[in-house]
Amino acid sequence: MRPTLLSSTWVIARKDLAIEFRTRTAFLAVLVFAVLGVAVFYFAWDATAVAALDLAPGVLWVIFTFSGLLSLQRSFGVEQAERAMDGLLLSPIDREAIFLGKALANLLFVAGIQLVTIPAVALLYNLSLGRPLLILFGVALLAAVGLVAIGTLFSAMASNTRLAELLLPMLSLPFFVPVVYGAAQATSTLLAGRPSQEAWPFLKLLIAFDLVFLVACTLAFPYTLEE
């Protein structure tokens, strides 16, 4: 009997997370990169002229975008070694499930990075995260779904090209614009302590993006594989 889409998605995600958990190199490297980026950004502005509150959302989302790209690079890179991808394709699971499993593992990876980076930004930029913290994590998660859907698909494509490391950011970044825009605007609304209803239009943008691109990328993924 063929396993269901959900169970095979989970098998793939668990495989990727197990590799990550046992090596632990990528997560720590990306985490250090993210916190380092937050710290370096602080020196790019005159802290007496620009309020930390105005800087934080932009810094947060630029860092998430780039650390996300770093982690997505690996997603299909690990399958290149010893042609592990062929083994995946031979296993009796749907190709959509391979994509969704990979995307789920990437989502948990990126969410883990966000879980540490958001408090780090709050700490280093002296922001008071009270009530909006929970909504902020919600915004981050919504944005991560969109980033990961696009990034996982392009990672699969880029890993088969001659320009792998260069091509992923070049293809992904234009697609990240609506996500970064929506998330950064929602973040700055929340951090400024304005009512959370004002962030709702941006959240709607994120939700629509997630739905459209999660479906589109899942359907497009089988076309990126060897036939």
Binding site: L153, M157, M170, P178, F213, A216, A220, T224, E226
Partner: protein
């Protein structure tokens, strides 16, 4: 991917394996469409420069309008062809659709570059700024990035069938992205003029200017199609040559 299908697309029969055949298919033909396009562009320029009145407020700078708007429409036409041909390729797996998408993508990038060059040239004297992060400017800039990325992707994949599938996927996703970028930048205020010709009531352009614009529209569209056709012929010849080369290598 198979070199055989490329040979077939070039119309080569198995009995006649050598180069003259490919040449007779794609060889030096008089490109009347390109000549006509260049002639139309010349007429359009002469009309815009010498036979169209100078706009009262903006002066001579306003004349860039004809090039700018026509190039934008042609760029959208070319990119529309890319998106359409991407869908057609994934549906029918016809190499001609892939070649047409490739050709239209390259021509589209040229026209987008014209739009993005003439825009700031016009914007500086009139708005006082080379660039603003206005909805339509940003959208055009990102179209340029997407098209450039599309062409880089095409150049980075060696396998022809894989290249066709990858670029078709990117073409379709990019088409889905456009409304989102438009929506994101729509929250910004806009400096860009609202539509002047394509609006519900009568065009608010004096007749002479409207005629010049339409002449430019027509000339630009013909030029766009002629360039796509020229580029498409090149793609056919190139693939035919690759087919012959791989055939030679097999022996």
């Amino acid at each position: 991917m198979s070199s055989a299908s490329f040979d077939d697309a070039a119309g080569r029969s198995p009995e006649a394996p050598n180069a003259p055949v490919a040449l007779s298919i794609t060889g030096r033909r008089f490109d009347w469409l390109l000549v006509a396009a260049v002639a139309c562009m010349a007429v359009a320029f002469v009309r815009a420069i010498f036979f169209t009145p100078i706009e009262a407020l903006q002066g001579a700078a306003q004349k860039i309008y004809y090039v700018h708007v026509s190039a934008a429409v042609s760029a959208y036409l070319a990119l529309g062809i890319v998106a359409l041909m991407s869908i057609v390729y994934l549906w029918l797996r016809d190499e001609r659709a892939d070649r047409l998408a490739e050709s239209a993508g390259e021509v589209g990038l040229v026209f987008l570059t014209v739009v993005l060059t003439t825009g700031p040239l016009w914007g500086k004297p009139i708005w006082g700024a080379w660039w603003t992060w206005d909805a339509r400017l940003t959208l055009t800039l990102f179209l340029w990035f997407l098209t450039a990325g599309y062409l880089v992707l095409r150049g980075a994949v060696d396998d022809a069938a894989m290249r066709a599938r990858y670029s078709a996927v990117l073409g379709i996703l990019a088409a889905l992205l456009i409304p989102f970028i438009h929506l994101s930048v729509y929250f910004f205020n806009t400096l860009h003029p609202m539509p002047i010709v394509l609006k519900p009531d009568r065009p608010s352009l004096p007749n002479e200017m409207l005629v010049t614009l339409l002449v430019f529209f027509g000339a630009c569209t013909v030029l766009c199609l002629a360039l796509i056709r020229l580029r498409y012929r090149y793609a056919v010849a190139r693939d035919a040559l690759r087919g012959l080369e791989s055939e030679g290598g097999d022996r």
